[in-house]
């Protein structure tokens, strides 16, 4: 599997949703097709892309071919988590700046009170 294949496999929201569903546990093609209002061939096409990218694997169980996340798929989910983490970190870095700007007038007020004659620091 190449990194490019994994990256383009993840570029589609339906495929990301399929991975999210498989993070819960193994599922058959029918189970996977159900929430997406898609035909089975359409879902199978997405599954093929995910499989070729090494993100999911299939198992044979009678006539069924249940899919589950491969190790690379779990790692891809972790990478998504890392991206969410990054967006949140960016928020809180901005919040640090907002808080620093808020604090300035407050500090002066406290400073003025403290500067009253004869008052100990």
């Amino acid at each position: 599997m190449t990194l490019d294949a994994a990256f383009s496999a993840l570029a589609d929201p339906t495929r990301r949703a399929i991975l999210a569903r498989l993070a819960k546990g193994e599922a058959t093609v029918n189970e996977l097709a159900e929430p997406f209002e898609m035909t089975q061939p359409a879902i199978s096409q997405h599954l093929k892309v995910l499989e070729d990218a090494g993100l999911i694997v299939r198992r044979v169980e009678g006539a069924k071919r249940p899919r589950r996340l491969a190790k690379a798929g779990i790692e891809a989910m972790d990478q998504w988590l890392a991206m969410l983490r990054k967006a949140l970190e960016k928020n809180y870095d901005r919040l640090d700046e907002v808080l620093a700007a808020m604090e300035k007038p407050g500090v002066e007020e406290i400073g003025m009170k403290k500067r009253k004659k004869g008052e100990k620091r």
Partner: protein, 154 residues
Amino acid sequence: MSKMTLKTEGDTHIIVTRRFAAPPEAVYRAHTDPKLIQQWLLGPEGWTMPVCINEAKPGGKFRYEWTHSKGQGFHITGEYVELEPYRRIVHIERMHLPDPTPDNRVETRFDADGSGTLMTMRMTLPDTQTRATMLATGMEHGMEASYVRLEQMI
């Protein structure tokens, strides 16, 4: 300033912690005053929040609308369940993409930590599937930001 932590707990929780150099009063205000929220709750580069309605009282509603410089947008609506000034906020929220996602119950605590604040945000989703989808959705916006940056580099 210590780093943020983000972890999952059990089947349905996501826990985020972060320390701030300001006291709990200030961090709490930055989470409830619309003028302050609009300055920081923006996610990846390129997003702004033109609409920020926030009634910070128990039962009060809020609505945040984001737009990207490239034109897309989405919004979150929610209700406050409990507000303990400067200490704790409990609210329920959902994203509209445009269909609403399942409710996310969020408890945010602001604990004094020396001269600063330790913030702990605990999200509770209805089930594992919802949590996984939510994490994937959040990441979708992160990915968009990466694509925009990639385009700028090319």
